[in-house]
């Protein structure tokens, strides 16, 4: 541990580029407000002082998709809303992630009918699903931490293969 101590004394940290990039992406991931229904209340309460999400980097929720990284789809998506959701997702710049919050966004929830998408993954590709109706703020924060684990393990070669 000698050289790290020496470097630490000089104020130098060594790491990998991937590590730094992923670390910086997780430490300041701004979600886009996409609260559609009841799950939005739980999302708001997760942002509120009691279960603060800005401890985890989600300092503020951006209403504009151009300025956000994460889309938390909170609530049921109806057939009429689907194209709007897709358009907002397309307007988000890379890198972007989607978190499907609650049962309705994950699988249609209690609404198993013609008017509601049975899972928002019919419209946008989802990274993390959070179950619950609505999920408690702690469950949403756990979902966010899971997403952070996923982001931390992202490799450049996968991103290069995708492009």
């Amino acid at each position: 541990m000698g050289i790290e101590q020496k470097l630490g004394n000089m104020g130098v940290v060594t790491t990998t580029l991937e590590g730094v990039v992923n670390w910086s992406r997780t430490r300041a991931m701004w979600p886009m407000l996409f609260g559609l229904a009841c799950c939005a209340i739980e999302m708001m309460s997760a942002q509120a002082p009691n279960y603060d999400m800005s401890r985890f980097g989600m300092e503020l929720m951006r209403a504009s998709p151009r300025q956000s990284d994460l889309m938390i789809v909170a609530g049921r998506v109806s057939r009429k809303m689907g194209p709007v959701l897709r358009r907002l997702y397309d307007q988000m710049p890379e890198p972007k992630w989607v978190l499907a919050m609650g049962d309705c966004a994950s699988c249609g929830g209690v609404f198993n009918n013609y008017a509601i998408y049975q899972g928002v993954d019919e419209v946008v590709p989802v990274d993390v699903y959070v179950a619950g109706c609505p999920p408690r703020p702690e469950a949403l924060i756990h979902g966010v931490m899971t997403l952070y684990e996923k982001v931390k393990s992202e490799k450049f070669r996968d991103l290069a293969a995708k492009a």
Binding site: R79, K80, P83, R86, G108, N112, N113, Y114, A115, Q118, G119, D121, E122, V123, V124, P125
Partner: protein, 170 residues
């Protein structure tokens, strides 16, 4: 039935040849489609029924002919009365004159009835779908419309349903 309401129902029966019935304390009157605008205007102006509280439709297929009943719920705030009007409408090309001239709030309720049941309103200023996407085919609340549900994925049929689900790729 309330005394005042009795009188109004009697007057409707005489004047417009409507048919009054009662069910569990609620009075409803069956009116023909051609007379509805007259009846509504008379009730609003002469009998103080200022508020159209509800307007909806019911599908009685296949038990009853005619198939649809368009239901108007009128409320008189001044006299504390509530009256229901029903129009029986046939199933093929159902059409009813619009009530937007008489009660302004009928505009969206008629759009909803058009969207969900397919009952046209002649003379409606804005006939488009209100709840379903504008290019949707079919009228969801009719009795012969399929439920449109998805089979629940249990462990034993998980893969086969998974293959059929339309996932979004990127």
């Amino acid at each position: 039935m309330d005394n005042k309401l009795e009188q109004i129902v009697q007057a409707l029966q005489e004047k417009f040849k409507a048919q009054g019935e009662e069910f569990r304390g609620e009075a409803h009157v069956l009116v023909g489609a051609g007379q509805i605008v007259e009846v509504l205007t008379w009730l609003r102006d002469q009998q103080n029924f200022e508020l159209l509280s509800a307007m909806t439709a019911v599908d009685y297929c296949p038990q009853e002919e005619p198939r649809f009943h368009v239901v108007y719920q009128l409320t008189s705030v001044a006299n504390n009365l509530s009256l229901m009007l029903r129009i029986p409408v046939n199933g093929d090309k159902p059409e009813v004159p619009t009530a937007t001239g008489v009660f302004g709030n009928a505009i969206w309720r008629e759009r909803e009835i058009w969207d969900m049941f397919g009952v046209r309103f002649a003379g409606h200023p804005d006939p488009r779908r209100i709840l379903m996407p504008p290019d949707w085919e079919g009228h969801p609340l009719r009795k012969d419309y399929p439920l449109g549900y998805e089979e629940p994925q249990f462990t034993f049929n998980f893969e086969e349903i998974d293959l059929r689900k339309p996932y979004a790729k990127e």
